[in-house]
Structure formats: C-alpha cells, structure tokens
C-alpha cells in the first residue's frame, strides 16, 4: 500500500516547524481532512499531579481548558485513564467506566459533551522509559476507516515527537520545565520526609531508580540538592502535596 501523499507532506512539514504555533496550524488543517475539529497534545501525569506543565499544545477552548486542567479532570477522565492500558488508538466512546458508580468520570464526559465535545479519537503515546502521553482529537470518530486510523496514528506520533523535541531544546533555561510524572511522585514522597529506601518500598521501584528520579528532576529544574528540588517543584506547581 502506498503512503498517502498528503500525509507524507504533512509529516515533512511538521518536522520543519520550530515552534508550536506552526505545528498547531498544520494539525488543524490535517485533522480537518479527516473530519475532526480540534485537538490536545499532552503528557499524562501521575495521580494528584497538575497536568498543566505536561500540556504540549492545546486547541481546546480557553473555558474548557481552564476547567479541565484547573479541576484536575485529567485524573477523572476515562479517556485519559484508558491511555495507560492500551497502545492502540481508540474512540472516546470506547473508554470504559462505570456509568452508575463512577460519577466523577461521568461528570467529565457529560460536561465535555456540553462543551460540544461529545465524541473524539484518542491516540495514546508511550514514550521511552514508560512516560505516558496523548494526542486526542475532537470530532466524530465513527466515520473513519482503518486506513484513516493508521494515518492519524502516524500523524499523532510525529506531532507529539516534534513538540517534545522543541520542548526539550527550548526549555534549557526555562523555569517551567516539566518533570516526569514518576519524578513528581518520588518528589512528593521526598517532600513527605521519606528516605530513598522508604520511597523504594512504597513505590516498588529500586532504590537506585528512586535516586535516579531525584537526580533527573534536579537536572531538569537546575537545582542544587534534593531540598532545593522539592521547593522549586512545589513553587512551580509541578507537584501538589
């Protein structure tokens, strides 16, 4: 099967972009060809961690974005939840939750519908080292065939990869440098006064890995020691206690 020529052009253009606004424009045009209206591209944090530093590019309305991020909806949203358990793209309507018992999940889905986001197509992104991300498209997913799904999957991988690259090269000096969700989790335990060996017991990670997470977070935040790292992470709302 030949690659879709439009997709090849879009892929090439995405990789030429040096800022996220260029990627945003290309994405709108590309997903429009498949009948989708809007999108968000983001990393997914661990429970309790603010999603905002993880957002790479949002095409959502300001009102919905503020609501979704400000109220921690990412931790209730069944679509985000499902990303952790599959490598394959799925329709929002396929994200399972208990409609009777899981009221918070239902609230997120109902409110999204009220904001004109009743249906969508979600591409989970699994990064090296187990970090989790997502490219989620707003629109009617029932009308796209398997070929289109695979093309949108490719498109999502390229867009996410390019944004991640731009993020890593631009944020060398930026204060708002995101830490990974696992680093955030470890730092929260550090903030709670736990030692590396206690954190290893709690999280099931090895002590070496726990220390590595702390060192990585320190490197990302440009801090000098563990206390400094925790303080900066809290100050920039990268972790919440």
């Amino acid at each position: 099967m030949q690659v879709n020529a439009d997709l090849m052009t879009t892929i090439a253009k995405l990789q030429e972009q040096q800022d996220s606004s260029g990627i945003c424009e290309i994405m709108y045009r590309a997903i429009g060809n498949y009948g989708f209206e809007s999108f968000i591209i983001s990393g997914l944090p661990d429970r309790g961690v603010d999603v905002r530093p993880f957002v790479l590019l949002s095409g959502w309305s300001d009102e919905w974005y503020e609501r979704y991020t400000g109220l921690g909806y990412v931790h209730l949203d069944p679509v985000a939840r499902r990303c952790f358990s599959t490598t394959l793209p799925f329709d929002w309507s396929e994200a399972p939750y208990d409609h009777e018992a899981d009221l918070p999940a239902r609230r997120v889905m109902d409110e999204a519908r009220d904001f004109g986001m009743a249906d969508g197509f979600c591409v989970p992104i699994h990064m090296e080292g187990g970090m989790q991300g997502v490219v989620s498209l707003v629109g009617d997913a029932t009308q796209i065939d398997d070929k289109a799904r695979l093309e949108l999957h490719m498109l999502a991988l390229y867009a996410h990869g390019q944004l991640r690259f731009l993020n890593s090269s631009r944020s060398d000096r930026s204060i708002k440098r995101a830490i990974t969700s696992r680093e955030g989790e470890v730092l929260k335990w550090v903030a709670a006064g736990k030692t590396a060996s206690e954190i290893a017991d709690i999280t099931g990670l090895s002590q070496r890995t726990v220390n590595q997470h702390c060192e990585n977070a320190q490197k990302r935040l440009g801090t000098n020691n563990r206390v400094h790292t925790v303080v900066e992470a809290i100050r920039h709302k990268l972790i919440s206690l």
Partner: protein
C-alpha cells in the same frame, strides 16, 4: 582492552575516537571484520544476547536457532556492530549493513518499501538489531544506555559518510526518533506485522541531527567530529529499529 576494526576508514586513530567514555564505565565499541582477537568474545556475547531479546523476549520466532545465537544472513563481513559495554558487561548494541550489500530492509522487509531511497544506496546503511538490555530500561526515564547508543549511531553514520540510515520498526519509534530531533521519512505505508503496526523509514544523517540527539539526551559532545572530514550533510539515519 577495547578493539576497533575500521579498516575501511582511513586513519585508525580517527576511528579509535569512536570508542569513547560515556559516564563512568560505558563505552561504545565498533566491531567489524576482520574482528580482532579481543573482540571475538564480545561479538559472541552480542549474538547470544540478541537471541535472548529478539527471540525469547520479543517472540521473533522466524530467527530462532537451536544454538541460542541470533546470527542471520546479514551477520557477514559487511556488517558493523556498535556494542555498548558498562565495565565488562554488554548492555546494548546495533548493527549496520551497507545498502549496497545484501540487507534486511531490501529482502525480508522489502514489502514495507514502496518509495525510493532518498539517495544512492552507496550513501546509506540499514540499521538493525537495536537493543538495550531490558534490565537497563527500568524506571520512567530515557535509559542512558539508549541515549549513548543513539548518539553513537548518528556519530558513526556521520563518520562513515552516510547520508541516511534506514530501519524497520513499530511505528512508535517514529515518535522517539523525532523527539531526539531527527528527521524521519517513511519508505512506505505501515503494515501490521506480528500484530504490531510496523514501518520502514529512513533517518537523515547530518551534523544537526547529531547536535540535536546530544542536546535532547544530555550527552556531551566528544569532539570526535572535529577530527572527521566535514562538509557532508544530507539525509540522516533513524535510530530506533526493532528488527
């Protein structure tokens, strides 16, 4: 003791530079025919580890061998192996086959290739058997072992004067490669192989691609290229092959 055998390259001193220190004890070894006596054992360990990873763990049954060594039709004198060691332990590797010689892409995976190569086959190599020992990939981080190999791959491709590298992998590798600042172009539409969406693609080899992978992985520049012939830019190599 490390060994290099880069007879094709003029100036052995230049190649010796490829064997470099990465962190405390990690080193990248360039192994190619004629394999020096001191590299024979490392190459043998590479074949056995590859069998463990690609056959026993990833379930690639087509290449299973009773002697538990992954040695295929392309482990010939034309192949170059980049092998990563930490102290005495082999922790990762990759294989390169010049595209002018028989290679995996244009035989086993030729069905994935519909487009043309970006340049003459003499300017490219097929990158295969990329692996990092699984116990080195734990935790939520990019393993320094992967980072070291990615950087070594691009550095090696530049030193060899390649303009591009081809690879076959699950499509997830496209995201990884692009996030390193590499330009990657599919050679055909993805197909489902062993239940996974799989694609053939090529990576542009360039000084920029090397600078980008170093910066995005936090690996220091080692000044190797200062010794190398300059002026060659163009398509670059992809890094993340599953096969």
């Amino acid at each position: 003791m490390i060994f290099t055998n880069i007879a094709r390259l003029e100036g052995r001193a230049l190649l010796r530079g490829v064997i470099k220190r990465l962190g405390a004890a990690m080193k990248v070894h360039v192994v190619r025919a004629p394999v020096e006596r001191c590299s024979i054992d490392l190459l043998e360990r590479n074949y056995r580890l590859r069998h463990t990873i690609f056959v026993d763990m990833q379930g690639w049954e087509a290449i299973r061998r009773p002697d538990q060594r992954d040695v295929d039709d392309f482990d010939t004198d034309d192949a170059t192996h980049l092998l990563l060691t930490d102290g005495d332990e082999l922790v990762g590797g990759s294989r390169f086959t010049p595209l002018e010689k028989p290679n995996l892409l244009q035989t086993v995976f030729s069905g994935l290739v519909q487009g043309n190569l970006p340049a003459s086959p003499s300017l490219g190599a097929d990158w295969t058997r990329f692996y990092v020992r699984p116990d080195r990939r734990e935790g939520r981080r990019r393993a320094p072992e992967s980072a070291a190999l990615f950087c070594a791959v691009m550095e090696y491709a530049l030193l060899e004067g390649y303009a591009f590298i081809t690879f076959v992998s699950t499509i997830y590798m496209l995201e990884h490669g692009v996030s390193l600042g590499w330009r990657i172009t599919p050679l055909g539409a993805p197909a489902i192989i062993d239940g996974k969406p799989t694609v053939a693609a090529w990576i542009e080899v360039s000084e920029e691609a090397l600078a980008n992978v170093r910066r995005s992985t936090g690996q220091p520049a080692l000044g190797l290229l200062d010794l190398a012939p300059t002026g060659r830019t163009g398509p670059a190599i992809p890094v993340l092959s599953r096969y």
